[in-house]
Each structure stands twice: as C-alpha cells, then as structure tokens.
C-alpha cells in the first residue's frame, strides 16, 4: 500500500530533490538500520538503543524538531511516540510508515526493498542485499562449522528465534515476552536444552538455565548508533561461535 512517489511535502520543501538526501526519522536504531540498508543517508534516531521499553520513551524537543523536518517517519508499530509526534507536527499522514523489524533474511529483504522503492534508492538496496546474502551465508556457515555434526537442543526467547535458524538449528521451545509460567518452565526444562538463546534486550530465560544448567547465550537485535545491520550479524555470530563451539 505505500506510495512509490515521494509525498508532496518533500517535493515542495526540497525542490532540488535529486541532490538533497531524504530526511528520515526512525523510532529506534533497529528501524534506522533498515532505512540505512535501503539507502537513506540522513537518518535521525529518536529513542537511543539504550532505551529498554521504546513505548516509554519521552521524546526531547530536538526529536520534535526532527519529526517536523522529516520526509519520512519510520517506526515498528509499538512506539506510541512516533505517530503522536508526527500527528502533533501535522503534515501528511503518509510520511508515517511502519517497518516490520525481524532479523530474518526474508523480512530484511522485503522491508529493505519496500523502503528503497519509497526512497528511490533501489540500486543501493540491491547492492546491500547482495552483500547481506553473502555475509549471512558466510557467518551462518561459520557458526554451523563451529557447532559441528551434533545438533544441541536449544530453547529461544520469542524475539531471537531467527538466530536459531541462523545457527542451523530448530528451537525445542520458545518463551517470552511474557514472564514464564510454571508449566512453560516445566515443559522447557523437560526438553533438556543445552543452550538458551536469550534476548539481551528483554531477558526472561534465567529460570530455565537455573533448572537445567543450560548455557545462556545473550543475543542482540538492535544495532549500535552506526546503524550497521551486518554488525549485528557479525556480533551474534561471534557470540554463537564461542558459545556453541566450546561444546565437547
């Protein structure tokens, strides 16, 4: 449903559209990384990656200014401040886009292409995806190699399930984001996992570790301020290699 032509606000405020990069405001660094991958260059992040609960974020005056000046405001859907700020400053509601954030190749590919069509930066996005595919395959292979022939049993927090596939494994169980119930704990414990893929941003898997002596592997989803999505894959690959690789 997103419009492929830039909204009128942009064309009127920036008549020399070809030379001036689009101003993108992203709710979080994760959303920002998708925009960057799609080819945006002028990206302002509202909630820094340090904010645990994006729904709670209290924007600053500079955030308001950024939204007022933005060509597009991107958010993941649950950050109430993004649509409210956009509505408060007025202007076309079409500037506001939701982006599905998930670190799986399929979602990344779909969302990056969709955004690039909007930004008019398709070639950049395709170049990124080519690089991404190669990197993903390489890093994923490294992890699989480190694991070796065995297939350790893992359970995973709901929002880091894609990393289980990344490691070439199947999750024996999933928990979160709600707190564990005793039955979940019992079921997940009974699965006798060797590893727990924990979402470092939310937590919640510690009781399983307690009950099973499984190793907790802390995985990230949000990139740093450099908005480098590939760095997230690099970092998690390293984490996974050193954790899974040490299995006897």
């Amino acid at each position: 449903q997103p419009n492929t032509t830039a909204p009128s606000a942009t064309t009127t405020s920036a008549p020399s559209g070809a030379t001036q990069p689009l101003k993108i405001v992203a709710s979080t660094s994760w959303v920002g990384a998708f925009a960057k991958a799609a080819g945006a260059t002028d990206i302002t992040i509202i909630a820094p990656s340090s904010v645990q609960h994006p729904p709670d974020y209290d924007p600053k005056p500079s955030d308001l200014q950024a939204v007022a000046d933005a060509d597009y405001v991107l958010y993941a859907g649950f950050e109430g401040f993004a649509p409210r700020l956009q509505e408060a400053v007025g202007g076309s509601a079409e500037r506001l886009l939701t982006v599905q954030t998930e670190n799986s190749p399929a979602v990344i590919k779909a969302e990056v292409l969709r955004l690039s069509d909007l930004f008019g930066t398709r070639p950049h996005a395709e170049a990124f995806l080519t690089r991404f595919d190669a990197e993903y395959t390489r890093l994923s292979q490294d992890v699989r190699t480190a694991i070796g022939a065995q297939t350790p049993i893992v359970v995973s927090q709901a929002f880091v399930v894609p990393w289980v596939g990344f490691a070439g494994l199947e999750p024996a169980g999933v928990y979160g984001p709600a707190p564990l119930t005793p039955e979940e704990l019992a079921t997940l414990t009974k699965a006798q996992p060797r590893f727990i893929f924990e979402n470092v941003h939310m937590g919640g898997g510690q009781p399983i570790a307690e009950a099973t002596t499984a190793t907790v592997i802390n995985l990230i989803n949000f990139p740093d301020a450099d908005l480098d999505l590939l760095a997230v894959f690099q970092k998690n690959a390293d984490t996974l290699k050193s954790a899974l690789g040490t299995t006897p």
Partner: protein, 270 residues
C-alpha cells in the same frame, strides 16, 4: 543551545500547544492534586495507569475501543473506593489494593490472551510535546470542568477533607461528594496521562499539592499556592527543557520537585 534554536522551537506548533496546555492544565490539575492529598491517595497516578492498562487489555480482548474501556474501568475503580473512606485507616490501603491488583490483573490478562503488551502500553503513552489540537481541546474542557466543580463545591469539599463527621452534621452528603471527587480524580488523571504523559501528571498534580500542603493554611490558600506552583514551575521547567534539549517529563518533575522540596523549609505548617 543558543537563542536562535530556542526561538526556532517556539515556532513549532506542538511547542506552542504545549505551552498553552501547561498553562491550562497547570492551573486546573493542582486542584485535583490537593484533593488527592486530602484523601490520602497519593499513588493514584500509578494506580490509574495500571488500572487503565487492565482496561486496555480488556478492551483489546473484547474488541471494544480500549481507551473507552480504560476510562470506564478507571472511573469504576475510583468509585469503588468511596465506601471505604470512613474507615479509621482511610483510603491509603484501598488505593494500595487497587494499585497492586490492577497490575496483577493486567499482566494476567495479557499473558492469558497473548495480547501484545507493547500495544497495550502504547495506548497509555502521552507526551506534552506530542499534544495534538484535539488533545488540547479535551484538556481545556477537562480543566474547565475541574475548576467548575471546585468553584461550585469548594466549601463542602473543605469541610469534607477537614473531617467527615463535621461535614456530615453540616448537612453535606458526604458519601456522594466523596464518590464524586474520587471519580473526577480517577478520570482526569487517566485522561491527563494519555494527553500529556505520565510524569507531567506528577508535575502538575501531586508535587504542587505537596508543596501547597506546607504553605497554605486552608483549602483555598493551598489551592492558590498549588496553582501558582503548577503554572510557574511547569513553565520554567519547560523553558529548561527547550534550552537544554531534555525529555520534558523528567525535566518538569525535577523543576517542580525542587520547588516542592524547598517548601519544606517552612517551619510550621498546620
């Protein structure tokens, strides 16, 4: 930040709206704050946020407009406290029950139904910088309502907060008045959280009222103090917000909070 940027910010419509909102709400909501002090239900803002969360979860579950359900549940929880007001231990305990039971029920409902908690939280979100035209209108209406109720019932309220039995034997319908106040408090707090942000509600209700309790010698003078501190403190805090580019909620709470702490220097409050 230099002055040019400050002026730039003032040109933004939401910033102008925020200033109007701070003046309007800052002069009406401290009245609510003083009632809250008098009824000894200071954590009501926390309680209402959690009751609202429960209402939202319920609304999402039933497929009815969640903010409506949230308001209804907030009003009902306020009303449900009224019959306990005459007890020797007062309303602090019942408010504590509402607060903890609401969180627990909300979490249970969310975990039961698998509703995305983020979506529920999102509906509770507000910020003074994100005040829309429609928000401002609602805020003005609510504020005028509060001022009206106070103007109309202030003598009875003064006696009620002083002593329930004396109010009763002065011919005041104590139960009805208590329930009315509790419902107004619950609804306006719930609305204000959504319209202006949670922390701002603290800065315009509770904190000015705590300061006024130290400074005023009657309901009238306390409310005058609270309104003055509400408006002035929040405008000063908002200027600091703009000047130092800080999140407004925390900044306003800290500004008004400092004034409140200073009010404790007054030696002999009544």
């Amino acid at each position: 930040m230099n002055s040019v940027e400050f002026i730039d910010l003032l040109r933004l419509l939401p910033v102008q709206r925020a200033i109007i909102a701070l003046i309007v709400a800052g002069s009406a909501f401290p009245i609510i704050g003083v009632w809250i002090m008098g009824l000894n239900i200071l954590p009501v803002r926390f309680a209402m946020m959690h009751v609202a969360l429960f209402g939202i979860a319920l609304g999402l579950l039933l497929g009815i407009e969640p903010t409506l359900i949230a308001l209804l549940v907030c009003g009902a929880s306020g009303a449900s406290l009224a019959p306990l007001a005459h007890r020797p231990a007062g309303l602090a305990g019942p408010m504590g029950i509402v607060m903890t039971m609401a969180i627990a029920s909300a979490l249970l409902l969310l975990s039961q139904t698998g509703i995305n908690a983020n979506g529920a939280f999102e509906l509770l979100w507000g910020s003074i910088l994100a005040t829309r035209q429609s928000d401002l209108i609602v805020l003005v209406v609510v504020s005028i309502g509060i001022l009206g109720v106070y103007g109309w019932q202030r003598r009875d309220i003064a006696l009620l907060l002083y002593d329930r039995e004396i109010a009763l034997c002065s011919g005041i319908a104590v139960d009805r008045l208590t329930m009315g106040l509790l419902i107004i408090i619950a609804l306006s707090i719930a609305a204000a959280v959504r319209l202006t942000g949670a922390l701002l509600v603290d800065a315009i209700t509770i904190l000015p009222a705590i300061a006024a309790r130290n400074l005023g010698q009657s309901l009238g003078s306390m409310i005058a103090w609270a309104m003055a501190i509400g408006v002035v403190g929040n405008l000063v805090g908002f200027c600091l917000t703009l000047m130092f580019n800080q999140p407004p909620g925390p900044m306003l709470v800290i500004t008004v909070g400092c004034i409140t702490i200073l009010s404790y220097l007054r030696k002999e409050p009544v």
